[in-house]
């Protein structure tokens, strides 16, 4: 896997996180932001101002699909789930990420 630029990777990482989180089940925006916070142990944080535009972008590209879901005695929430095209992108990005991390590790001497 050839990595085209560092910038692309940085931008891509947030996409990778979101796609991974909606891979197995659909989640709403707040849940996604909480999961990133919790799973990273508070090291990674995606605030609403960045998260939602990113969700819309992924949706525009056809990688995820948003749907309003109504539950009794609750306000309706928008749930996102991955599409077939998104799954393909996710696999690609995972591979890219692994290559990147491995390469960085080789350079910095960590194993």
């Amino acid at each position: 896997m050839e990595i085209r630029s560092i910038n692309e990777l940085k931008k891509g990482s947030a996409e990778l996180l979101i796609l991974s989180l909606v891979e197995d089940r659909s989640r709403h925006g707040y849940e996604i932001s909480r999961m990133i916070d919790i799973r990273s142990g508070g090291d990674l944080r995606l605030n609403a101002a960045s998260l939602y535009p990113l969700l819309y972008r992924l949706e525009n590209r056809g990688w995820i699909e948003g749907r309003w879901v109504e539950k009794p005695s609750q306000r309706r929430r928008r749930f996102y789930r991955i599409t077939a095209a998104g799954r393909k992108v996710l696999n690609q990005q995972r591979a890219t990420w692994r290559t990147f991390v491995a390469a960085v590790n080789r350079i910095t001497g960590e194993t």
Binding site: G29, S33, N47, A48, G62, R75, R78
Partner: protein, 893 residues
């Protein structure tokens, strides 16, 4: 819980999202802030701290920036992939808005393009609207089963051209015999056209009346709009007199009052009860003002008088071919009863109505299609030129990520907007001009056919506009959508076009020139035919002749001698008017093919050859009034009455055809109808074109009307008055002279003979004017095309020209350089045009007269005309090229 939504909507407002989208985003974000707030409160935070923390997640600056990127991303993406329906409409709307903005930014370009398309689309819509009524819509329900039966002379096909009559009618007894053929016909109806006069209040007006059998209206599927149709018990002579009015008469004379039913209309001094009004859509037999029942026993019914137009509805399941065969096998049996040797022609009603309008409309359709093609080529050229000058804009859009499909669609939207604008202008133009067009075509189309705009026609226009938009926009869009990304971005402002684009544009102009030439050649041929027809030897002198037509009332002049005396008195009093040189009657004026035509027999001439002649009844000084030359013998005089031997005058064509090499004077000819037929030839006059100026002269026989008095009661006559001055000036005194003899006499068609000639050539003038207008439009469009392409070529070469001048080239060198390029385009265009013309003008041959469709002189003349106009269109670009300032060009480098 704080009100997040208001705050969020406030922060989103600079994005101008659609209201629905904004509400969705706000709701989702508010939900997020709610969750955050609730969690904070649960964790022990104060409401104020929780509120601030929640709002902090939604940094306005960051949010707007990110969302803007998303919107942009969406627009670029959606149409490249073309998957989301919502985005499709959104981007279509965006394209339309953008397209309108681009068109408004270049008003001259847009106006020229839209007008060119308006003309092309308008012409096509007009012709389509005619075609849709004449050829596509059935006039009557089940029209394929309706036929007209004509009783033609057995060997009609052996007649020389020009002699063949357009229509043959059938006698009433024969109609009755055919109507009994129940195995062929479901029903058979007859109509007899006549003109009773109505002398009501005010100026007496002659109404055109048609006598019809009671099954006539039901057979054509016409139901009265008001009242009822005729019943079979209204056919006997003893039944009360009833009449059905046409829609036109009902409106003009009775102010469309429904109370007219049961009222009275006076026809020929007899009162008729009005029982019905025809619908406005009913058109048949020259659209009579009234119809009355045809009654057996009236004097119009005679076994020797073929005056019925016979309509028949074939039995269901019987094909036209089978019916024609069945009729042919029955013909001898039916004709045998009458001792006549005739042949029954079966003419489909549709053909009978549409007649000769079909080829004309097809030719017109071809011509307007060519105009539209030229308009498309022109607009495509404009778009290509614009595409070249917009390369910078397009390159930027591509650099920003716009896909090719997206760009093509955007550019197509612009050309579609133009063609739609053209269509709207076209409909407005037609709406304004339909009266004029209908009048222009009136002589060439069946009754009731007019240019009109209904949903079918508007649908056609819309479809045509879409097709046109794609046709003229596709090539430019394809070409412009693959810009060279480097050049336009690097070199500021310089307009440039790829050589390929220049080639396409030159090819389009060459095509425009070629197509225009074809239309011009057609026009030239029609024009020359027209002038040849007008210069044809008419056999009489139409200048200084006033004519009028009148029909002595059959009730007041029932006695033939009284009728003859009345007509004589009119000649006497008219001739006595100052300025009148001669006056006389004729049963039918020449040029319209209205004269009665029939077979004749000549004493001592073998009978086995079919001999037909036009038969004219004359009185007074008709020959002198028309300046017809006497070639042998004498004219008629006042002694040629019933008290003296019957006499006749024949024309030169008659002598040449039937009495070749013999002395005609003293020969006896059987005139064929109106009592004892044998009469002696006493004179020979010059040949006159009876049918029309462009047909061959037919043999004609003239007899004194005083000697055929028994025919008069059914006949109208035309008076010809030769004047020394302006014939129109004398019309009032002629009217007065006649009204002094009978104040109720209705006078019709008071016109000069020159006006009649004008009317007689109208069928030629109409296609000529239409073709000519199309050709002028085409020429104009081609000139614009040449100007545009050459002008663009010069702009593109400015640098090269400047360099040449800087290196010492003279103005004349530049002049030659540009002119050479222009001449090359024009020459190729004209050559291609001549080739197209040679291949296509033969479709016009039916409309041409004494000229070959490939007439070299015409082609040369129109080529010169086109070449001159095209060169004039080059003038401005050429002059501009010679004024290129080398310093300016070099400074720009």
């Amino acid at each position: 819980m704080p009100d997040w939504k208001t705050e969020i909507q406030h922060r989103l407002s600079p994005l101008h999202l659609s209201p629905a989208r904004e509400a969705d985003v706000a709701e989702e974000l508010a939900q997020h802030l709610d969750d955050h707030y609730t969690e904070m409160i649960a964790g022990g935070a104060t409401p104020e701290l929780a509120r601030r923390s929640a709002l902090a997640c939604l940094d306005a600056h960051e949010l707007l920036g990110a969302l803007r990127l998303v919107t942009h991303d969406a627009q670029l993406n959606s149409t490249v992939r073309g998957d989301a329906h919502g985005n499709f409409f959104a981007s279509l709307l965006q394209d339309v808005r953008y397209g309108i903005r681009m068109l408004r930014r270049a008003p001259v370009f847009s106006t020229v393009g839209i007008l060119a398309l308006a003309i092309g689309i308008g012409a096509n819509t007009a012709v389509f609207s005619l075609i849709s009524t004449v050829l596509l819509r059935p006039f009557y329900p089940d029209i394929d089963r309706l036929v007209v039966l004509e009783d033609a002379p057995a060997n009609a096909h052996t007649l020389a051209p020009g002699e063949v009559q357009r229509t043959y009618r059938m006698s009433y007894p024969k109609f009755v015999a055919w109507s009994q053929q129940k195995n062929i016909f479901e029903s058979v109806a007859a109509a007899y056209f006549q003109g009773p006069s109505s002398t009501g209040v005010g100026e007496p007006q002659r109404l055109m009346a048609t006598y019809v059998t009671s099954n006539f209206l039901p057979m054509l599927g016409i139901a009265p709009a008001l009242g009822r149709g005729f019943r079979s018990d209204e056919e006997p002579l003893s039944a009360p007199a009833v009449v059905i009015l046409s829609d036109g008469l009902w409106r003009s004379r009775f102010n469309a009052a429904p109370s007219v039913i049961g009222g009275t209309l006076t026809l020929n001094d007899q009162a008729f009860t009005v029982i019905g009004v025809l619908p406005a859509s009913a058109h048949f037999l020259g659209d009579p003002d009234v119809i009355v029942p045809l009654r057996p026993g009236t004097d119009v019914i005679s076994p020797t008088f073929s005056n019925m137009t016979v309509f028949a509805r074939l039995r269901p399941g019987l094909s036209l071919a089978a019916a024609t065969a069945a009729i042919a096998s029955q013909a001898s049996k039916v004709n045998g009863q009458f001792g006549q040797n005739t042949e029954v022609l079966v003419i489909p009603l549709e053909k009978y109505i549409a007649g000769n309008s079909r080829p004309l409309l097809m030719i017109l359709l071809g011509a307007v299609a060519v105009v539209l093609l030229i308009a498309c080529a022109n607009t495509a050229n404009l778009l290509l030129a614009r595409g070249a000058s917009r390369q910078r804009e397009i390159a930027i859009r591509v650099a920003l990520g716009a896909g090719r499909g997206r760009l093509i669609w955007q550019l197509l939207t612009e050309s579609l907007l133009m063609s739609l604008g053209g269509a709207i202008c076209a409909v407005a133009l037609l709406w304004a001009a339909d009266q004029w067009l209908t009048r222009l075509l009136a002589n060439r189309l069946p009754a009731g056919v007019a240019v009109h705009l209904d949903t079918m026609v508007l649908g056609f226009t819309l479809g045509l506009a879409a097709l046109t938009g794609i046709l003229c926009g596709l090539a430019p869009a394809l070409q412009s959508s693959v810009p060279d990304l480097r050049q336009p971005l690097n070199v500021s402002g310089r307009i440039s076009g790829a050589p390929a684009s220049q080639r396409v544009r030159s090819a389009l102009v060459v095509a425009e020139i070629a197509l225009s030439l074809a239309l011009l050649a057609g026009t030239g041929l029609l024009l020359r035919s027209f002038s040849r027809v007008l210069n044809e030897d008419k056999g009489f002198d139409p200048e200084h002749v006033l004519t009028l037509r009148m029909w002595p009332s059959p009730s007041r002049y029932a006695d033939p001698r009284k009728d003859v005396a009345y007509l004589d008195a009119i000649v006497q009093s008219t001739s006595a008017l100052p300025g009148v040189q001669a006056a006389g009657w004729v049963s039918n004026l020449p040029l319209f093919g209205n004269a009665i035509s029939g077979d004749i027999t000549i004493e001592g001439v073998s009978d086995n050859k079919m001999m037909m002649a036009s038969k004219q009844l004359v009185a007074g000084d008709y020959f002198r009034a028309m300046h017809m030359p006497l070639i042998r013998g004498r004219f008629f005089n006042e002694r040629d009455t019933l008290d003296y031997p019957l006499v006749a005058i024949v024309d030169q064509t008659f002598v040449q055809r039937y009495l070749d090499g013999q002395d005609p004077i003293g020969k006896h000819v059987n005139f064929g109808y109106g009592g004892n037929g044998w009469c002696e030839i006493v004179g020979v006059v010059g040949a006159v074109k009876e049918m029309s100026l462009d047909s061959a002269a037919s043999p004609t026989m003239y007899v004194p009307l005083a000697q055929r008095a028994s025919l008069l009661v059914h006949m109208a006559f035309s008076l010809a008055v030769r004047t020394s001055g302006d014939p129109a000036a004398i019309s009032e005194s002629v009217r007065d002279a006649i009204h002094q003899l009978d104040s109720t006499q209705i006078l019709e068609k008071v016109r000069t003979m020159d006006e009649w000639i004008d009317t007689s050539v109208a069928p030629r003038r109409t296609p000529m004017i239409l073709f000519g207008s199309f050709a002028v439009i085409a020429l104009f469009l081609a000139a614009i095309g040449v100007y545009g392409v050459l002008s663009h070529w010069v702009t593109q070469r400015q640098e090269e020209i400047g360099m040449r001048v800087a290196l010492g080239a003279q103005r004349s060198d530049v002049f030659r350089l540009v002119l050479r390029h222009a001449l090359k385009m024009i020459a190729i265009g004209i050559s291609a045009g001549i080739a197209i013309s040679i291949a296509t003008t033969r479709i016009l041959s039916g409309l041409l007269y004494h000229i070959k469709p490939t007439d070299a002189a015409t082609f040369t003349a129109v080529s010169l005309l086109l070449g001159t106009v095209a060169l004039l269109a080059c003038a401005i670009p050429v002059l501009r090229a010679t004024r290129v300032d080398p310093l300016m060009v070099l400074r720009n480098e």
